[in-house]
Symmetry: C2
Subunit: 321 residues, 2 copies
């Protein structure tokens, strides 16, 4: 068995990464979106990295996967008492990562080093890698102008109509040495795009300068898992954004966003009748259960994705012969 690289963001991405970690342990590297990172009260918050760390270490809340299990809000209550901002909500435990991250960055450490350190402390076996060490911010272009994703989500409640996206800083960012090594591994057998918002979770990773070329050069198949089931995003705003962008909120619509980047696409069994329309885009298609309610679901989807990639690899090998 070789190594696996996952591209991920959000709760859905973390869940599938956990399934992959159960199967592959230290042979998994997860490249995590940092386009949604933000500063609050001078602290450096990396929501997708922290969701990943908490999920892979078994510390994520069962009911709200972006949060720590047993999180409390005593700090936030006192911030409010002292006249500080009401939102975004600070968790007592989750503030620790932001505090140490800010401190490390000020001391000149790379985000990747800081994240790998956290992962080691949390006894996570997979490698958790920020998409880059530079600051990249996903801006949402709306009728009222450009806002950061953080503002769109936190201050505007995802209300404004979305016209497009900008990935500020991406052109000046580079994949880290750690990402380079993971994608160049001789035994790399699959790259998995986890189910997450294509625009502000997966796409920012591709926008890091040189990332697409790195992914194209590798020999292993790239397979994506849909975040849209039955025309709806399981969580989050992928469906809303797709409609506002004039895209079809469907598996085909998602696959269309990844065109020329993926070899295979996994849609939900519920959407099995869409398989042909996705296949017509020139990608291989698998129908699987993509909704992950239990740990078994996460592992089963991870296995389906790896088996799918293996099948694509084998077919290619036959074609070459």
């Amino acid at each position: 068995m070789g190594t696996v690289v996952a591209l991920a963001g959000q709760v859905g991405g973390a869940k599938l990464a956990e399934g992959l970690q159960r199967l592959r342990g230290r042979d998994l590297a997860v490249i995590v979106n940092t386009g949604d990172d933000y500063e609050h009260l001078g602290l450096a918050f990396s929501p997708d990295i922290d969701t990943m760390l908490y999920t892979l270490s078994g510390r994520a809340s069962a009911s709200a996967g972006w949060d720590l299990e047993g999180e409390s809000r005593a700090l936030q209550a006192m911030v409010r008492t002292l006249g500080g901002p009401d939102r975004p909500l600070l968790g007592d435990r989750s503030t620790a990562a932001a505090l140490l991250r800010s401190d490390g960055l000020r001391a000149g450490r790379r985000l990747t080093e800081i994240t790998l350190d956290f992962a080691r402390r949390l006894e996570i076996v997979a490698r958790v890698l920020p998409m880059c060490d530079e600051s990249v911010r996903t801006n949402v272009l709306t009728a009222e102008g450009a806002v950061t994703f953080h503002e769109y989500f936190n201050d505007l409640g995802c209300q404004p109509e979305v016209h497009g996206f900008q990935y500020a800083g991406a052109a000046d960012a580079r994949p880290s040495d750690e990402i380079f090594d993971a994608l160049h591994a001789a035994d790399l057998e699959a790259v998995v795009l986890c189910p997450a918002n294509p625009y502000h979770a997966i796409r920012p990773i591709f926008e890091v300068s040189g990332m697409k070329e790195l992914l194209r050069k590798r020999g292993a198949p790239v397979v994506a898992v849909t975040p849209i089931v039955g025309g709806k995003a399981l969580r989050g705003t992928a469906g809303k954004m797709m409609r506002e962008l004039g895209r079809e909120p469907s598996p085909r619509g998602v696959a269309g966003e990844y065109l020329r980047l993926i070899d295979g696409f996994i849609l939900d069994r519920e959407d099995a009748d869409c398989a042909e329309s996705v296949r017509s885009l020139g990608v291989e298609v698998l129908a699987a259960q993509t909704v992950m309610r239990t740990m078994e679901d996460r592992v089963a989807l991870a296995r389906a994705a790896l088996d799918f990639a293996a099948a694509i690899r084998e077919r290619r090998a036959l074609e070459v012969e």
Copy 2:
């Protein structure tokens, strides 16, 4: 009744300030030591200011006055899990003030404005004023070299022998306009030095450039309350420091530290036999109960200090006639 200014630091200082606040409400201004302030994980901690705010707003822990009642340590536990420092301990609630203070300072606000804002939010009627807006750090000179008070206290457990003190930054600091107004008030009737370590709680306030002159110019008597009872500091290290500095750990020793700055000195009833030796230094002396176990004790000592100052004022007026 006129206005009152208290100079304070530490838990003892906050307790007497609370007694004075009960008697004088908004006619009290408290000038608080900031020489013990420190940075931890990029946050600006002001222990004496926060102790004062929590005490004056009735939020201080009954058993550990520097802490908030009901404080929890979920943030600290997670900092430790992630490999961060074990000390100084972060409290979930108390971190809020440090976080908002750092954020305000970075935004260019003065420490005085930030502190007055906190006090307003906490519904404190007295004015709580940092001794200055500039950064002043009390350094402890030890056999092993100079360390900040924070290092001496937190990292070295107050172990090294003390040879002296340095107040770094004090020469470049100035009393704020708010302090100037409080000490220049036409109806100022007393200045009270609260019971606290003379070297790192009260003295730093005097060291702020221009502060001594401001205090000398005012017409109201200055009375000090001893932090040493029966040869021992009630809390903290005043006794140890006095011995190491070759001073007598006694009310007389403390009064000696305030010579030419005070008109009256309040020692504990337990030390009433020291009254003559203190009087021989040229200051008036009152014996009172200085140990404050209950709220009544705080109010009684506050009343004793104000009555003592009034008596000194009256005697002076008679002498002038």
